[in-house]
Amino acid sequence: MKKKEFEEALSNGRDTFQSAESTILCSRRDILRGGIGLGIIASTGGLAMNLASPGTAEAGARKLPTKWDETYDVVVVGSGFAGLAAAAEAAKTGAKVLILEKMPVYGGNSIISSGSYAAWTDKYKLREKLNLGEDSPERHIEDMIKAGDYYGDPKLAEVVVRGAPDALNWMIDEGGLKIRQVLSGGGGQTAFRVHISENSLGEPFCEALKKIGEKYGTKMRLGTKVTWIWRAEQEGPVLGVEVEKGKKKQNIAVKKGLVIASGGFGRDIKMRQAYNPSVVPEYNSTNQPGATGEMIRYAQAIGADAIQLNFIQLYPFGEAETGLLDPYQAYATRIGFGPIYVNKLGKRYVSELERRDVCARAQIKMGLKPTYVIMNYKQMVKVGGEKDLESGVAKGRFIKGDTIEELGSKLNIPVPALVETVNNYNRNMKEGKDPEFNKKINKDMLPLDEGPFFALTAWPAVHFCCGGLRIDASAKVIDIWDKPIPRLFACGEVAGGVMGSNRLNGNAYPMCTVFGRIAGTSAAKEKA
């Protein structure tokens, strides 16, 4: 949006807002005017703009801090890819930047993720070098939008896709990130565009971003939780945040911008079910324990709009007890060579080629925890290495049986039922059919006809929150009156509307880094 258009939009928004305000919000405005009339300056006292904060004495009328303990140009909430990228870009402009992270370690979900970054090109021209066919920004955008069932905002998707190669190169050049000289594709990514870190983990990406930020003087404070966002009035800017460290509360003033990069709410059972009743408490989560979504609520309390919160991505094959998703669990999704999913009764319960949400709902509907993924040696070496097999068995992650009978008894599954399931499956596969679940049998699939056999426990887990705070293409948070909230930005998983209803493998990384960079740059540009 050009500056003039933007200003017009802003003033239009304001008109709308004022007409609404005159009927709805006059009492609060009166209170505010009264406060100012009495000589209280908004930034150093007076009433804060907020909804009722349950359980607080000042419900509905929290008082603004009378003094600020500290002042920063840009404060970033969260230290995953988005927060780190935002901080780095803001600090690069010379802004004084502080990252607040409530957990005792940095990195959020990013640092425990699997190191996959989708970009249609890169500085090495890997796709051309490896002769892996065609790709284009348009194709990546189309894949992203299609995967999200056309609920995603194409304008935001375009920002992610077009910024993806440059953000990747930036981490490589300035952050020292090393990626493998390979590309992967598949799933809904219709081209080879997924770049992978050397150790298949998110940590090298985090370290690269952290390094860039530190170079420009970014500071990070761990174990520090935001407990409120201060804003004085409906048209006014964000003023700062209230934070809690240990037993101590402090107020930090924000001169240019507050960037919310706090991730999703996959670990808040109540919140996720409130927005999507089908996501019952029985679901585990692959997320780190800090993914509890309170920043979304604080932003809503000062007028921010939040959208598409019902779109919660499910991962059906987390480790059954913990929800953990790691390289061993990833074997569950390598379905091309014909593994089967069975329940505790030894029966298949879904077509193994079904979408993840379908698999997850089938598991939950049965209510029989855990389920198992059954593979044999032939299938496993096609999709992984001997090394994984060995260590997986040693760690008890792959349960091994030389025969189906042995495997069944180790899993405590009724052996005759499991044998029958496997025999039926093998027979049907030969005939190229699956009368029970209509799975499309193809010639790559291998029968489960010789051992050793391996099983891995699986239970569905909440994986990614597609919805979140409503943003525009410059990462400004939009309020319920369709107007940007001055000095408030959001990026990463906490921002909604980018992915639509579903997210493809490899797309979260560019979404976080690209919008992180934009949020940081936009925040630093604001007038102090």
Binding site: P104, G223, G246, K248, T322
Partner: protein
């Protein structure tokens, strides 16, 4: 800011009734100790008197953070703040809540100590003199508050920085080598997929230490000094 060093250099006597001003009478130690001879080290010269002032004539408190020529042994604090020894700080110290913590008849103040802070001191000194947490394990090696915190009191939520731990415990590389599990070498808490993290994420001075890994990897078997018993 209160100097931590001073919290450890006063020799206690006994009293259950807090004396909160330098003007108040100095509590006597004889309520618990028949005489000083029974509790003093063998080579200690004889001491005349029945309260802390007897000690302070030689063990002169200094207002710098450096130990004077004859500092008190930290074990004196340990013995008097154990959970089963219900001696209040004011058995030896003078204290006006929110104003000054000092020593009787000495022109020295260790800083302003509020009631909340005093409660916190008692709690932390008690755990330090116990046998449960990391602070007690350090106390066994004569490591006092300053060994980890330096000369100033930490704020609530502050943690001890890695360099200070590693100053005694060796480099991260050494730690990694020392703690590599034999059965699953990749499950090393000092070398994880979280990168280099703060020691204090797992190792807590005044509360139960907890292996952070176990928050997600609930099936790992890992032990930690000062952990859940």
């Amino acid at each position: 800011m209160i100097s931590l060093f001073f919290l450890l250099v006063a020799e206690p006597c006994e009293s259950r009734s807090p004396a909160r001003s330098t003007k108040a009478q100095v509590p006597s130690c004889t309520r618990c100790h028949k005489d000083f001879v029974s509790v003093l080290p063998q080579k200690h010269p004889l001491v005349a008197g029945k309260d802390i002032t007897a000690c302070l004539s030689c063990h002169i408190p200094s207002s710098s953070t450096k130990a004077g020529p004859k500092p008190f042994s930290t074990t004196i604090h340990r013995e008097h703040v154990k959970a089963d020894v219900k001696v209040h700080c004011t058995a030896c110290h003078t204290w006006s809540p929110g104003k000054s913590l000092g020593l009787p008849k000495q022109m020295v103040s260790f800083g302003k100590v509020s009631k909340d802070q005093m409660d916190l001191f008692r709690q932390i000194f008690s755990s330090w003199s116990g046998d449960r947490y990391l602070d007690a394990l350090h106390a066994n090696r004569n490591i006092t508050c300053t060994g980890c915190h330096g000369n100033t009191l930490p704020d609530s939520g502050d943690t001890v920085e890695n360099d200070r731990c590693l100053g005694c415990h060796g480099s991260v590389v050494d730690l990694v080598a020392k703690t590599t599990p034999k059965d699953h070498p990749a499950r090393n808490p000092h070398k994880s997929h979280l990168g280099e993290i703060a020691c204090a994420v797992c190792h807590h001075g005044h509360s139960v230490s907890q292996v952070y890994c176990l928050g997600c990897h609930t099936k790992f078997i890992m032990k930690i000094p000062g952990g859940e018993k």
